[in-house]
Symmetry: C2
Subunit: 306 residues, 2 copies
Amino acid sequence: MNQIKVFSPATVANVSCGYDAMGFALETLGDDMIFTKTNSKDVVISKIEGAILPYEANKNVAGVVALLMLKDSKANFGLDIQIFKNFKPGSGLGSSAASASGTAFAVNQLLGNKYSNLELTLFAMQGEVAACGSAIADNVAAAIYGGFILVKNYEPLDIVSIPTPTNLVATIIHPQIEIKTEDARKVVPTQIDLKTAITQWSNVGGLISGLHSNDFDLIGRSLVDLVAEPNRKKLIPHFDDVKQSAIAAGALGAGISGSGPSIFALSKNLKTAQKVETAMDAVYKNSGIDYSTYVSHISKTGTRIQ
Amino acid sequence: MNQIKVFSPATVANVSCGYDAMGFALETLGDDMIFTKTNSKDVVISKIEGAILPYEANKNVAGVVALLMLKDSKANFGLDIQIFKNFKPGSGLGSSAASASGTAFAVNQLLGNKYSNLELTLFAMQGEVAACGSAIADNVAAAIYGGFILVKNYEPLDIVSIPTPTNLVATIIHPQIEIKTEDARKVVPTQIDLKTAITQWSNVGGLISGLHSNDFDLIGRSLVDLVAEPNRKKLIPHFDDVKQSAIAAGALGAGISGSGPSIFALSKNLKTAQKVETAMDAVYKNSGIDYSTYVSHISKTGTRIQ
């Protein structure tokens, strides 16, 4: 195999109660990337469409992951990488994670499936370090494993795949305002009441149980975040309106995607998810803020060959 | 039906990571209780064996629950209650919860199954108020629902049954020292680091996922408590030795049962659980402290007719 075209999904991290611990991958929203083997042993980013990102390989998330994997595997080839971003960086939908995990997946294919998903996640996390300074796993693990994932532990990294109910559909609205991950982190308290923490882990337990047992009602009752959302939502115009409208339109629940500004909702079928999209759209259409909306099933496979 | 004999199980609350949110019921350790309809409309506790507890109905956990249910249901009968305690109050194994939930279950049978398990849990929680001043749900819900339960929410009460792997077996050691629930609560911090909380809810997620998927290894990796155990274990002599010995003998994990002093371990089969019992016994046998050990499967039914 000399060339591979891959799709790397957008991802929703946190999933309300699962702050810094859970994530899921979208089926139809994500980046396209083309990787071509070269004889030079270098990594060259030859095309980037859809976003302004560095072309220097050691400053580009995809380039960093590719260089690391070629070195680790002592590969006898180099790479030409073309990146087609289909959603914007800074959306809270794991843009850097899509580049990092798409690269990890593609390079592994070109290496003949040398690495496990856990190892690919560890490589992709180094792309997250390049993008935001932290080796966070939730978005990249969701992109690589697909479906819902739980980051059970960091040292050693322990990723648990959680079954995804087939009919579960996400609706996303991305208000095109800038929230830096750093700023979004600053507003989250470093200490919390034990009582709040207990409620949060009861909801994590409920969400994971609901996903395992296809209990949509339980999933909905568990999509509650007492830790990040009460603080972060102030950074997102009309958050409460969007959430309430989504739930009124039939969504099981809604919350902030990653560190925002995107807002996600989960619904029990496509038709409801589309109604939720209409409801979200109605809140934003006269807001004077640019925005995009998306409806997508949950991706069961994550990163995949196109 | 004029008389009913019931078994009400001992229960393990918290289950390490699931502090104040999870619990499970034991199959073979628990109280026996006999309820006989009377014409007097009073509740009389006519026998208590195995523990020193009040005979006045309005001061006895079983009496309190029975009085409440007879009043709520406008029953045209009274009750004679005989209580046979097979494990000691103050053990951390839900002694008051066994009396409360056994009563709720038995009275409901005599009323022709008028109430749901959720309603029975709410009645039994009033027994917990009588016993310890708080309407805690974890032990009583585990006793009434059986298996593993998650207290997803208190207001309104929301109990989630979690599937129990068939082969899972608990080993318990009860060192006969006194730890008051109140004292055990005092040593647990009221505020915790967000980082600690995230680890705790990742483990709750892992434990619930492991129970759903019969993943014993994941169950073991998730039996970690960073919140109560590091503080409470100081109240339990030889805790670290017991835990380490249990794990060395093959247990998936171990922790404090409820607010202690009992220590529980979970194993993937009966043979291992018996080895774990031997290992726990070896730690305590020359300690000069009286103790009991128990090996039991997880009760899938909870409170039951004998």
